[in-house]
Symmetry: C2
Subunit: 113 residues, 2 copies
């Protein structure tokens, strides 16, 4: 059985254009569910589900005041996600370097200037 | 109707610890589906599904030779994903800076040294 980690929830949360746009919107200012739903033309129920996914990932924090749920950016800073992607890209670069070195070694001598 | 983009497929592909581990494994060397499945103790069918998700995201390329499917890293370099995360983190920092400036402005004068 796979044990899901915080980084899994973050990448899952980011894998949707509406959820990424909600984060960008909350970066400007906090908002209610209604304010978030309106510009996307989606239902309150649909937006609540997106916000729940973002909240589970620590990307959004919500607070219910009276009957209105207020949303703002949460504590998650994407440090772990940045580190994973950077490690992966370093590995890709090392592979290209090795491939380049291999091609250099195996180049027919007739190609040399 | 939401139109999914390449970046959505990438983040979805990265949102699973087995799939991230497969990418790290393929960073060392190419492998068959059987070789990938064995260390994770999952079925060939399960691994094929994971590889399909990675292939849809451009993170893995597969080639069937005879009856065996060989897997290696694909063309996607995570440039768009890195850019999105960097933009988000810059926005977070700007928010903290604004909050800091606000706290500085509103600090009671009695707290000053």
């Amino acid at each position: 059985m796979v044990q899901y980690q915080p980084i899994d929830r973050t990448f899952h949360a980011l894998a949707d254009p509406t959820r990424r746009a909600v984060l960008e919107r909350l970066g400007r200012d906090s908002a209610t569910i209604t304010e978030l739903a309106e510009p996307f033309g989606i239902s309150l129920t649909g937006m609540k589900k997106h916000v729940q996914v973002l909240e589970d990932a620590g990307l959004v924090t919500t607070e219910k005041i009276g009957r209105v749920r207020h949303c703002r950016l949460g504590p998650r800073r994407l440090e772990e996600e940045t580190a994973w992607i950077e490690k992966y890209r370093s590995m890709l670069e090392a592979r290209y370097d090795r491939l380049g070195a291999f091609l250099e070694r195996t180049r027919p001598s007739g190609d040399q200037p």
